[in-house]
């Protein structure tokens, strides 16, 4: 995974609330066995409307997306994160995110930034003015050329993984002994729990 420390660039002021993962990537795009190329299907319904925000030349090359409450709600499809990544987006800023989406985002090198609605509203204005926004994960700040400065929280483990581009699976496999100990205790105390399909 690509490390993420600081992202500076233009932002797409989407602003919509309850952007579900069906909006981010419709089901027909899930019939793939690869992670690549999903940007083509990203926001397909919105992009089918003439003059939509994603086709607006003012936001070409944007690497930040600004949205409303509950971004990424609905289906757990990680294709949503892959599609955003394929569009070149590295940061999504919103007042809240669905739990599953924010986990998926981080695992794919995309930073979900939670800010209060007023801050998001302000950043939407800045983005609409075509001005760049800077997101710094080291300092956990979002700043603008107008001297706005907002701080955000991210759970320390996710921050650590993003900053260093770490693969969680590899990290956890290194804890194999602790997992083995848990399994041994479990097998002794509640063997039926460990049988699964072999019951």
């Amino acid at each position: 995974m690509q490390p993420l420390t600081r992202v500076e660039g233009r932002a797409i002021p989407l602003g919509l609330k309850n952007v579900d993962t069906d909006i981010i990537i419709p089901a027909k795009w899930l019939k793939t066995i690869s992670r690549e190329g999903l940007g083509r299907g990203a926001f397909e319904t919105i992009r089918s409307e003439p003059g939509n925000i994603f086709d607006d030349p003012a936001y070409t090359g944007a690497n930040i997306l600004i949205a409303g409450d509950n971004f990424g709600c609905g289906s757990s499809r990680e294709h949503a994160a892959w599609a955003l990544g394929d569009l070149g987006l590295r940061v999504v800023i919103a007042p809240s995110f669905s739990d599953i989406f924010s986990g998926n985002a981080v695992k794919n090198g995309i930073l979900p930034v939670v800010l209060p609605q007023e801050a998001v509203d302000r950043l939407l204005e800045v983005a609409r003015a075509g001005e760049p926004i800077t997101v710094d994960l080291e300092d956990q700040t979002v700043t603008t050329t107008y001297q706005d400065r907002f701080t955000f929280d991210l759970d320390p483990f996710r921050r650590h993984c993003l900053l260093n581009g770490l693969d969680e699976v590899g990290l956890t496999m290194a804890r194999g002994e602790a997992i083995g100990g848990f399994e041994a205790d479990r097998t002794a105390a509640q063997p039926w729990l460990m049988r699964g399909t072999a019951a």
Partner: protein, 476 residues
Amino acid sequence: MASRPRTLYEKIWDAHVVETRDDGTALIYIDRHLVHEVTSPQAFEALKVAGRPVRRPELTLAVPDHNLPTTARVDAGGTPVTIADPESAAQLAALEANAPAYGIRYIPATAKEQGIVHVVGPEQGFSLPGTTIVCGDSHTACHGGLGALAFGIGTSEVEHVLATQTLLLQQSRPMEVRVDGDLGPGVSAKDLILHIIGEIGAAGGSGYVIEYRGAVFAAMSVEERLTVCNMSIEAGARAGIIAPDDTTFAYLKGRPMAPSGADWDAAVAYWRTLHTDDGAAFAKSVVIDAANIEPSVTWGTSPEDVVPIGGRVPSPQDFADESKQVAAQKSLDYMGLIPGTPMTAIAIENVFIGSCTNSRIEDLRAAAAVLKGRRKADTVRWAIVVPGSGLVKAQAEEEGLDKVFTAAGFEWREPGCSACLGMNPDKVPPGERCASTSNRNFVGRQGPGARTHLVSPAMAAAAAVTGRLADVRELV
């Protein structure tokens, strides 16, 4: 630890902590993992590339459901029919190859045990009380109806579970939704959960695990509890859970993968400890009176857009919050609805009975009870029933329900997700309306431009008969 009263969620969480990191993230053991064809290929691919084995193959169960066509799976000569769509066929082939390659039990598309993952898990006794259950599908919350901590995960997490049988998680906060009293006649578990989502909102459970408590849930069958917990994710919650009780145990006893003999007794003894202690604190509590609930329907494109069937399409001005006003206007435009229209005046052209929310035997019985001796309205172009599993289908056929459906003008299909998400050929055409027993009324969910109204199975049947959204209580 024993001295502090704990919620059910906290008890299950505590029993699965392998270790806690300094930053508060916990490594949580996963007891049961369900895998289907759409969210797993990239996970298996990543394992293969990194040369990683599956840690505990017997704790994963694989079954295809999401994109399988629901037409006949074998031809007249008994040969399996290949899927016409090459991409869907490739996903199915990938699962068929990956599961045995890693020693994972696989239920083939042609087996009678095949079905929607969330129907199959409980039905096989693979899903058990007190276990942690995950699946690359957000409606995994469903299994909470058995008293399990069950939640949806993304594909990277599918890979994480396959490789380590654990997940790195932050603990959610416990939330209580209490419903006392009795549900009125014609008011089902689906109406209740839609009502709850309407009350607390699509993000009302965000950051929480909901425990459903109170007399209404205690009186429910396991099937009804699965329906309730299934839609917890539509309220934004990570999971939903109902404490296991004698109803749960009776449901599980004798199922193929459930414990048996002395193991059964030990399991039940443990399951009886799985309830919220007196004095345990919830971070949020919502209390609802069952008596106030009517059959519910959705009017918009978020599951929180709920009104009673006797209600009317709202106007954007009815909402205090400005962003909700904008969202409501967009929903009305998409749905082609005019504020103030009585819900019962809305004509529908399609009816879908199915999905992991409402495709179990009780759901089919409820719909068939309304349809018996009746026919769908001529204006209803397409009406299908997609049973949740081959076993549900067989049971329904034994009871003659298939005959009731076909006599009423419904198509009787093979099990799968079908028009719940429109990945297979079962789609609602653009601009047409569907009374659907599924769980999501999102823009384009049932097909591009499709307009979905979420309802209970009995209400879907009532809509089929009248050709419009209708109050089932006037039909029985």
